[in-house]
């Protein structure tokens, strides 16, 4: 795999939500990179901090209650968190586009979709009114909405779920960003539509040469589209590396357990292997490794010491990072 320039760098990101007497540690030192042109997936179950991370990258966290307590986010070498508001507005929408999960609530119900797409051009000072409209129609056409010239004046509620997601995508790629953050873009959609949307995203990515951060809980989707994956658990990236490597030979017990709990294996008679218990209460994180209470291979050290980030050499030579005391054992399959 050729080493492209790093476009987005997230280093030791920590985000807290303060509520009552407790502080919810939503993100606890997440670290990952996204290189130009690649598709990176953040994989995790609900509450693992993946969407909060995305919101932090886009400076969309409501503060308060949220607070970024540590870490750094760099986009193209510039620090996102400390950059001035005007500077950030030049980047948001223009160089980074974002697609949200729920297109219905993410589109403003009282403005036509054309207006909303055109707004992207307007805020970035591009084109005349007529030109903006023309380009909005063009974009709608590009994302596969038939009759774009009339649909441009329609309102979000007049579109179906899949169409709305197409509108969202059109809006996100309007200014040809170099990075697209897609936060569970297909979760609310039916499988056949999901396939359409993923297909659309792939072709747009190729066309614009965009990098994409795909945030998803769906192992299937991630395994099919992502070049690299970062698996998050309890606010940390527990394992990251090339998708194929990570999913085929997981080095972290959580990744392994996740894979084993998904139905769809060949042997139907086999019982599923759920991960026991529930994800940890983010306000009361366990000491040591956050996964140890649910980990089948947890040992004494796991209850005391948080595992360091270790670099593991993969089969194809690509490296990946893992946070587990026994990463090597897990990867080799020595621990059942």
């Amino acid at each position: 795999m050729s080493e492209a320039a790093t476009l987005l760098e997230v280093r030791d990101l920590r985000v807290e939500f303060r509520s009552g007497l407790e502080t919810v540690h939503a993100v606890n030192g997440a670290t990952f990179d996204v290189r130009a042109g690649e598709t990176a997936a953040i994989l995790g179950e609900s509450g693992c901090g993946k969407s909060v991370t995305a919101a932090a990258i886009m400076r969309l966290l409501p503060q308060p209650p949220a607070r970024i307590t540590a870490g750094e986010i760099r986009f193209d070498g510039e620090s996102v968190l400390t950059m001035s508001r005007p500077r950030w507005r030049q980047i948001a929408g223009r160089r980074i586009g974002m697609v949200f999960q729920d297109a219905l609530s993410s589109l403003n119900p009282v403005f036509s979709v054309g207006w909303q797409i055109a707004e992207a051009f307007r805020v970035h000072g591009e084109a005349s009114r007529a030109e903006r409209r023309r380009r909005a129609i063009e974009l709608l056409d590009r994302v596969g909405i038939s009759g774009a010239a009339t649909r441009v004046d329609h309102f979000p509620h007049q579109f179906s779920g899949g169409m709305r997601q197409r509108v969202m995508i059109a809006m996100a790629v309007a200014l040809g960003p170099s990075l697209l953050i897609a936060d569970e873009p297909t979760t609310a959609l039916d499988v056949t539509i999901q396939a359409q949307i993923m297909d659309l995203l792939a072709s747009l990515r190729a066309e614009y040469g965009m990098a994409m951060v795909l945030i998803s809980h769906d192992l299937g989707v991630v395994s099919e589209v992502a070049d690299r994956v970062a698996v998050m658990y309890a606010g940390r990236v527990v394992e990251s590396g090339p998708t194929r490597e990570v999913l085929r030979r997981p080095s972290h017990p959580y990744t392994l357990a996740l894979l084993r709990s998904v139905p769809g294996g060949k042997s139907k008679a086999q019982k599923l292997h759920p991960i026991v218990g529930s994800p940890p209460d983010l306000a009361r994180m366990p000491v040591g490794c956050a996964f140890h209470p649910r980990c089948e291979m947890a040992r004494e050290i796991c209850t005391r010491v948080a595992p360091p980030c270790t670099v593991v050499e993969g089969a194809s030579g690509a490296t990946r990072t893992v946070e587990c005391h026994f990463a090597a054992e897990v990867a080799s399959g020595r621990v059942a």
Binding site: A55, M58, R59, L60, P62, R85, W88, R89, Q90, I91, A92, G93, R94, I96, G97, M98, F100, D102, S105, S106, L107, N108, P109, V110, F111, S112, Q116, E119, A120, V123, H124, F155, H157, Q158, M168, M171, A172
Partner: protein, 305 residues
Amino acid sequence: MMRYLGQRALHSAIALGALVMLVFFLVRLTGDPASLYLPIDASVEQRQAFSERHGFDRPVLAQFASFVGDVLRGDFGHSIRKDRPALEVVLEAFPTTLSLAVGTMVIAVVLGVVVGSLAAIRPGGMFDRMSTLTSLGAASAPDFWVAITGILLFAVALGWLPTSGTGGWQYWILPLAVLSLRPFGLLVQVVRGSMLSALGSAYVKTARAKGVGEATVVFVHALRNSGLAVVTVAGDQMVGIVNGAVIVETVFGWPGVGKLMIDAVIQRDFTLVQATILVTATAIFVLNVVIDLLYVLLDPRIRHR
């Protein structure tokens, strides 16, 4: 949409009919107009003659029948007190109340929206706390008390404004201020609440992610979506303003419908009571239609329902 409006019209007509019927019989239970109209020493014969002249001696149902017939012909009867056609009297007073109400609404909505929006930007901030306190106070102050205190303070003690009456713009300040207090207070609360939820919504996130500036986010994206709540509350308050108008018109000597109606009830001027109620209720019906249309204007989702 048309069907909806048609339905609303039908409902309003039924409501109007029921209301008029209710009022017609209720006011006739409130006592004999003769005892109030005629001098205290008037004899029984004089009273009887008075009742006969005005038809109050007839059975109530017969009175109602001829009232309905008259109204359908456009005749709202003759006000005994004013010795003029009741409708004429009401229509004369109507513009005053209407202009008061509209003025009040404009002030309350503009101020309410601005203050409420600003408060929602930094919930819990200094401005938010101050505006919350102010709006609560505004919504909680007895209006007649504010009116009189206002006159004593601003007109008498400070001499900045005329005490009362109608005339140039100075005459509008105190009545409008008094009348808009409550709707203003409520609107601030409502706008703040709906702005808060709008600002927390996903579409605002989308706008921010597009790089839309904060001012546009607040005053275009969020505010437009709070419009429905504003219209609903403002519409409700419009009816309430007639309540306030009674007080304000009484204190400031404004010749409006509110005072007219109260006086008519106190004087048992039945025809005038009926006419004012019919006119007011019709106006409220029209107002409701306007609100419905505003809904449609503000929310495309309703347009396509």
